[in-house]
Amino acid sequence: MTKTIFIDAKYSEEIGLTNEVLNYLKSNNIKSVSLFASVQFLNLETIKKQLKSEKISIKTTKAKRTNKEIQVLGCNVYEDSFKTNIIKNSDAILYIGDGLFHPKAILISQINTQNKKKIIQFNPVSKQFRIINEEFIETEEKRIQANLRKFINSNKIGIIVSTKPGQNFMNLSLKLKEDLEKKGKKVFIFVSDTIDLNDLENFSFIESWVNSACPRIAIDNLTNKKIINIKEAFNPTKFISN
C-alpha cells in the first residue's frame, strides 16, 4: 500500500500588504474584502492586522475540497464552491498569491452573478499588485456559453473520465450517460489519465464533449473543442445566460 504525504511548501517570509495596496483600498472606498489565498500563503496575520487598522472588514470562508479556511483551489469555479457566499457581501476580493490560475477560479465562480466583484491580487513574493476584473474571463465566458448551446443540439456525446483518483467521477459519468440516453442521445465514455484535449481530434464523430475531471480542463480549453463540464451537462439550460 502506497502512502501519500503532502508538503504544502509554505512561504517562509512575512506577508504584509504594501502601502500601494492599502492606498488603493482606501482611495476606492473598499470597506470589506473577501480574503482568499493559495496554500503557500495562508499565514496572513499581518495582513489581517493591517486591514483591521484601516477599518476594512474581512470575510473568510472554506472552499470545497480544501481543508483550510481562506485557501482557494483552481477548481472552485461555481457559486456553491464556497461554504458561505462571502463574495456577494463584500466590496472586493483580496487574493494573496501569484499567477492567474486561482484568481480566475474566483472570477468564474461569479459568472452567473450580476454584480461581479473585482479581485485585488497581491503577490507576496514580488510585492506587486494588480486588479483582475471580468475582462480577464471574457473569452472563457463566451466559450462556455457557445459550447453549452452546441451541447444541447448535439446527438453524439463523448464523456471523458480521468483515472486520477482525485478526479475520477466514473459513477457520475455513467449516471449522465443514462440521462442523456433517455433523451435519445448516443453516448460514449472515454478514459484517460492526464487529459490532453488534442487527443479528442481523432474521434471526429463526437459532436460535443463532457469533461468529468478537473473543471479547468473545459474552462481553460485553448483549443476549439466543443467541451463542457459535467456539472452543467445535467442541466445545461440552467447555465445558459440570455
Binding site: 502506497t2 501519500t4 503532502f6 508538503i7 517562509s12 496554500v39 480544501t66 483552481g74 483515472t163 482525485g166
Partner: protein, 88 residues
Amino acid sequence: MYNLELDKIVKEIKKLKAKRVLIQLPDGLKPNAEQIVDYIQKSTNSKVQVFVWLGTCFGGCDIPSNLNIINIDLIVQFGHNKFDKESW
C-alpha cells in the same frame, strides 16, 4: 523561500521503513528535485531509492496511480495540501 520540510520527509521514510519513494513536484518546484533527492539520499545513507515523477502535478487531486508496478512505498507531493474529493 518556500519551506520544503525535508526533515519531515526523512522522518516519515524512517517511520514507514520505506524503500522506494516518489517525489512529485509542481512545475515551479521541479528545479528543486536535485536538492530534494540529494538530501533524502544523504539522510538515509542511500538506502532509499528516490524517484522523481516526470509528469503533471496539478494539485492534491493529481496523485499518480498504478504505481504498484514499481512498488512505491511513499509518494511525497509538494506544493499542495490534502484534497477532500466530493463523493458525488
